[in-house]
């Protein structure tokens, strides 16, 4: 329950982009940003795609053209509509005026929406150099940025590097394991042919956040070991969870390592 609540809260934060506390700008003596910030409060209740929302943000930028929050807020609708040109123009301005606050966000969007693996890696590594604090999570809250970096290395074909990064992250003190971390790590080991480590991670995922995917890939690992009966059982578990809707989900894009019904049917044929 706690896990699902966390997911929902993270999702809401991604969809809404929390309004900053304008008094902070007064406190640090930046009255211009305070005025710009107060202007953005007029966007409350307007859909981020709407003309009204965009105009409020333009008005804020007319007050202070360095107010990164307004650029980032404007950029969201372009991101979600697939307009990579305008999104990049706006988010670059947000990064320019607040790199620490926006580099991680830009990186995870590059990865999630545009599969821009190289660009995302550059952003995350630059952020790591700029701060000694934890670099934080992806825009949707699903992944730690180190895991995003790992998935990007995987996208570039460097699976060893991806494994190394995720293993290091999982070994970090006080790390809150991401809801899909063990699935991705397991699949990386599966692709590398290390079936025992793959199975171990799918079993950890089962204890942590049981989804159709970990049973599906566990079935594949068992099949590769010639354990057909156990693989068939895991495939049945996959089907049961799939039908209940316990699958990897991303409302905007197809999630990496997500499974589809056609994949299950194909796997079933090989086991029957």
């Amino acid at each position: 329950m706690k896990l699902y609540l966390t997911i929902i809260l993270f999702s809401i934060s991604f969809l809404t982009l929390a309004q900053p506390n304008c008094n902070y700008f007064l406190h640090v003596g930046d009255s211009l940003k305070y005025e710009a910030c107060k202007e953005t409060e007029n966007a409350t209740g307007h859909y981020q795609f709407s003309k009204e929302f965009q105009i409020v943000m333009d008005n804020a930028l007319a007050i202070d053209s360095t107010y990164s929050y307004a650029y980032r807020s404007k950029s969201v609708a372009y991101l979600k509509s697939g307009d990579f040109l305008e999104w990049k123009r706006l988010i670059d301005l947000a990064v320019k005026y607040d790199p620490i606050g926006n580099l991680g966000y830009r990186a995870s969007c590059r990865h999630q929406f545009f599969k821009d693996y190289g660009g995302a890696i550059v952003d995350i590594e630059e952020l790591s150099r700029m701060t000694h604090e934890d670099i934080g999570h992806s825009a949707n809250g699903v992944y730690h940025l180190e895991v995003v970096r790992a998935l990007c290395y995987r996208g570039l074909g460097n699976n060893d590097k991806a494994i190394e990064i995720i293993e290091n992250q999982l070994a970090t003190d006080d790390y809150l394991v991401g809801i899909y971390d063990y699935i991705h790590l397991g699949v990386l080991y599966l692709e590398a042919g290390d079936l025992e480590k793959a199975k171990s991670n799918f079993e950890k995922q089962l204890e942590y956040n049981d989804l159709a995917e970990n049973h599906f890939y566990l079935a594949k690992a068992l099949k590769a070991q010639g354990k057909m009966n156990e693989a068939s059982i895991e495939l049945e578990n996959t089907i049961a969870l799939y039908k209940k809707g316990y699958v990897m989900h991303d409302g905007y894009v197809y999630a990496e390592d997500k499974i589809y019904w056609s994949m299950i049917e194909q796997e079933k044929e090989t086991l029957d």
Binding site: G82, L85, K88, R89, F113, F114, M263
Partner: protein, 192 residues
């Protein structure tokens, strides 16, 4: 001779020069004011109802494609939290392009987006193309690539109407897009 006529006669010789200058000054100021105004207001007036809205263009859009509801009622594919709705999901989309797209010899790499409307019957129309290079700068792919992808996208027939649970499963019109990651004329990934 009255003062006014004298003045008039005196000014006659000056008219061509003064008019020219006056015309240039007034024109320059007008252009400046107009362009400044248009830039200022363009930012605001150029917004449609929503970012990414596609208005019907009688010159390019298929007139047979009809929305089920008004333009102002078109939603986004993700408004329903159900993700992309295509029969057979992503594997079917990937398989379709793998089977039908003919790779083109090209040195260009980048992203090409095709955005369109899916109506409440699962029919599609109002296709628009956007493309960029790896640096997020506008770039046009060769027509053999962009036209081919556009034609193939237009022929996709597995789009599913999205039903709104909260409205007695009423099907709505929605915007959808596909982004193709292209490397040297080959599709290497399809999004979203």
């Amino acid at each position: 001779m009255s003062f006014s006529s004298l003045k008039f006669n005196k000014t006659i010789n000056l008219i061509p020069f003064q008019l020219k200058n006056l015309f240039l000054i007034v024109t320059s100021i007008s252009i400046c004011i107009f362009s400044c105004n248009s830039n200022t207001t363009k930012e605001k007036e150029s917004y449609l109802r929503w970012v990414g809205d596609i208005e019907y263009d009688e010159e390019t859009d298929n007139s047979d494609f009809k929305l089920c509801y008004a333009d102002k009622d078109i939603r986004q594919y993700f408004n329903f939290s159900k993700g992309v709705q295509y029969k057979g999901e992503k594997p079917a989309i990937v398989q379709y392009f793998n089977k039908n797209y003919k790779p083109v010899s090209s040195k260009k790499s980048g992203l090409l987006r095709i955005r369109f409307v899916v109506n409440c019957k699962g029919e599609t129309g109002r296709f628009r193309i956007m493309s960029m290079n790896a640096e997020y700068q506008p770039m046009e792919f060769e027509p053999q690539i962009s036209n081919q992808l556009l034609d193939l996208t237009k022929k996709m027939d597995g789009w599913l109407p999205i039903e709104m649970d909260q409205m007695d499963n009423m099907s709505l019109d929605y915007y959808q897009y596909l982004i193709f990651k292209i490397q040297n004329g080959k599709i290497i990934e399809i999004m979203p």
